[in-house]
């Protein structure tokens, strides 16, 4: 490759004073080639300083203990299909132990503790996440499949930031609710998904603790490891035993937790289907509930948008984290007059996305989290093609082992297509057109989901006009997938209810008078 490069690099003597060849004399269409001139070499993240234990137990009452059933299940690396570790399968009795431990800690210690002291514990957790940041990022990428670039630069720093942010609220709740008195709820049962394992743990645990509650958290079955490393951090921060408990397991463990009578508040992030089930199960109980469910967000691009940056926003909106994002911009609504140029730019842009080893620092798109998810994606993509939409997939070589799907988009889809209505939760974008702002609005809102939306235009008034009318809990103007602990996040309609982050996010974890 070096030799080829040197050859290409010699300025041709014949070219002295002349211009490089312009358009091909035969009038062929201009085409950019994103090929193999100057390939990047593999750039693996050094992972030799990280140890994953062969087995993890449950973290209950400040101690590690074996599951009552003695059962463990494997957690694998979706990029290689190799086993990383085995984790405990918590059954109803384990869940019961955890809830009791949380209750005891709440009654005896946490609810009695001065708020500013509680804050200092949470600050300790934040600090330790920063100190162990690299290790957490590597484990997160290995367990879930996301690129190291993302776990290192997004997931882990945001997780630390969530703890930092919420630590500061612990002794300021008197300010947060306009004169109303806030009291903690008690024990929070929290169930989180596999797409941002550590970050979702932070989003749940930090506000719960800040408001004076204790926690039992159930991580997703395919991604338990980062939560278990977090448990170690919590242990090292010397949090009183039982304030945070981690019970690993699958759907049944989560159901047991949500249903447990000792839990005062349930927080769930995951699919709309399971969210509805949980909401139904809680009917008739006094339990408080927040749900953060699925989405089918519209990313709306007007002709007067900063076009090249809009293309970045589209790409980031759907291919970030392999599209395993509830608020992913999975529908591109593009003004018809710029449809062709946007599609052309999208094709060029998608050609430079690097799909591969999550631990390679140059990887843009990692592995699909599980075989099950990969099958779901394939099924819907096949449906899309069958419905007559035109599929374009990035021309990339995919590894032999592991679960992979190339970044893909469909043009020529209709509003009624399955790929325009159902959440795919993968790196698949559906492109639709509109002619007027009213039409964009109508199409964007024509869904049972309502989590997020993007608006791309150079006209400020139009951003506010659209934002006012979009039925979505988070609206991004000339940007996408931006998160901050101070910024409340959550959905309308079947994307769930309740907000996480910001002052507003605290309400879910307190009882308010008046």
């Amino acid at each position: 490759m070096s030799r080829e490069m040197t050859k290409a690099a010699q300025p041709s003597a014949a070219a002295r004073g002349g211009a490089p060849e312009r358009a091909a004399a035969d009038g062929a269409e201009p085409r950019l080639v994103f090929g193999r001139a100057w390939d990047y070499a593999p750039a693996p993240e050094a992972a030799d300083h990280v140890t994953i234990a062969p087995r993890y137990d449950l973290f209950i009452g400040g101690a590690w203990r074996a599951p009552r059933s003695g059962k463990y299940f494997d957690t694998i690396n979706p990029a290689t299909e190799s086993k990383l570790s085995e984790v405990a399968e918590a059954n109803a009795a384990d869940v019961d132990d955890a809830v009791r431990a949380a209750r005891a800690a709440y009654e005896s210690t946490w609810s009695k503790m001065k708020a500013s002291e509680r804050a200092k514990y949470i600050f300790r957790i934040a600090r330790a996440i920063q100190e162990k940041a690299r290790e957490l990022a590597i484990v997160e990428s290995m367990d879930g499949g996301k690129p190291i670039k993302e776990s290192r630069d997004v997931d882990v720093p945001l997780a630390a930031a969530h703890f930092f942010y919420h630590a500061g609220w612990a002794d300021k709740l008197d300010y947060a609710f306009h004169g109303r008195t806030a009291r903690p709820l008690g024990v929070a049962g929290q169930i989180i998904p596999w797409n941002f394992p550590l970050l979702m743990a932070a989003w749940k645990i930090a506000p719960a603790l800040a408001c004076g509650n204790t926690v039992v958290l159930k991580p997703a079955e395919t991604t338990p490891l980062s939560a278990l490393l977090l448990a170690r951090i919590i242990e090292e921060a010397e949090l009183p035993p039982g304030v945070v408990n981690i019970v690993t397991g699958a759907g049944e463990t989560g159901a047991a937790l949500a249903a447990h009578p000792g839990v005062d508040k349930v927080a769930f992030t995951g699919s709309t289907e399971i969210g509805k089930r949980i909401q139904k199960a809680l009917a008739g109980t006094k339990k408080r509930l927040t749900l953060e469910l699925g989405g089918k967000a519209a990313n709306i691009v007007f002709a007067d948008a900063p076009i090249d940056q809009a293309v970045e926003g589209i790409v980031g909106g759907i291919y970030f984290n392999q599209g395993h994002v509830c608020c992913a911009g999975s529908r591109l609504l593009v003004e018809e007059s710029v449809h062709d140029v946007i599609v052309r730019k999208l094709k060029d842009r998608v050609a430079t996305l690097r799909v591969g080893d999550p631990l390679d620092k140059n990887t843009d798109v990692g592995a699909i989290n599980s075989k099950m998810q990969l099958d779901k994606i394939k099924q819907l993509v096949d449906a899309g093609a069958a419905e007559g939409a035109e599929r374009y997939s990035a021309p990339c070589a995919l590894p032999e082992k592991g679960y992979w799907f190339p970044p893909t988009f469909f043009t020529g889809a209709s509003q009624s297509s399955r790929i325009a209505r159902e959440e795919i939760f993968g790196p698949v974008l559906t492109v639709l057109t509109f002619r007027t702002p009213d039409e964009a609005l109508e199409k964007a809102n024509n869904t049972m989901y309502g989590l997020s939306a993007g608006i791309w235009t150079d006209k400020g008034a139009k951003i506010f006009w659209m934002a006012e009318r979009l039925k979505a809990g988070v609206v991004w103007g000339n940007t996408y997938n931006k998160f901050d602990p101070s910024s409340p996040f959550g959905g309308y309609k079947e994307s769930g209810f309740g907000r996480e982050g910001g002052r507003q996010g605290l309400s879910a974890y307190v009882e308010l008078d008046g």
Binding site: P20, A305, P306, G313
Partner: protein, 324 residues
Amino acid sequence: MTVAPHSPNDLARAGGAAAAPPRASFLPLFLTPPPPVDAVAVEERVAALAKRSIKKQAKVAGLRLAVAMMDLTTLEGKDTPGKVRALCNKALRPLEGDPSIGPCAAICVYPNHVSTARRALEGSGVKVASVATAFPSGQSPLAVKLDDVRRAVDFGADEIDMVIDRGAMLAGDYGKVFDEIAKTKEACGAAHLKVILETGELGSYDVVRKASEIGIAAGGDFIKTSTGKVQPAATPAVTLVMLEAIRDHYYATGRKIGMKPAGGVRTAKQSLHYLVLVKETLGDAWLTPDLFRFGASALLNDVLMQLEKERTGNYQAAEDFSKD
């Protein structure tokens, strides 16, 4: 893909892609105005691309390419023939221990040193680029600026690096900016023209984009960021905006325009970052000195140090590399 019409004369010709560079024409420029540019998003994109990790053989290949793309530059009031000759030697053989490295693409000097450079580089493929048009300010009458160009060409310059009239640009007198570039191109004759936008004075990416389109439409073969005399000089963000203008122009006309960041590219790491920008915006075809150059001086030694480090495995000392 149809080619955007240029002048009425071009319209009169049969359609299809132009085989020769079309005559410069101003009007169509603003029939399709340049798109707005969002600064925050541009800077985010550039920061994301800065994370590309270029290691081992890719690093060596990239650094060698960077050497081949260098316009080794000296533009100082105190330049002498001796200084210029030394720089030419450096361009011909950057690292005495390794003849396979280099030569650089060009030497860039003031018009008074073109002859010296020409003689020193005789028989090699290294080009002589001359700044002209009352570089760096451009604040002289057009007649003087054009004379500056003609003389530099007469002295033997293969390439002319001109400056646009930034005052006219900021005052909105785009016709004047366009006109001066077009006339400069004519004065260049066979020499190839780089149009320096002086992005550090333009104030926003929107204006950089507009100036890029004017520079290209008026006949520039390359658009270049800076004179190197004003801070900030080249930045990755401004470079990306210019590369995007080049890309859109290529799709509209089939013409490939070159790009040159100048000033502010001091380290090997930065140069690789720029190559990443080119590769991921314009693709393979632009990864050649015919279409991409670095305007630099200190950069060369840092690149050589990095190449040595890759070869030996050890971090290098600055004093081991000749300072010309």
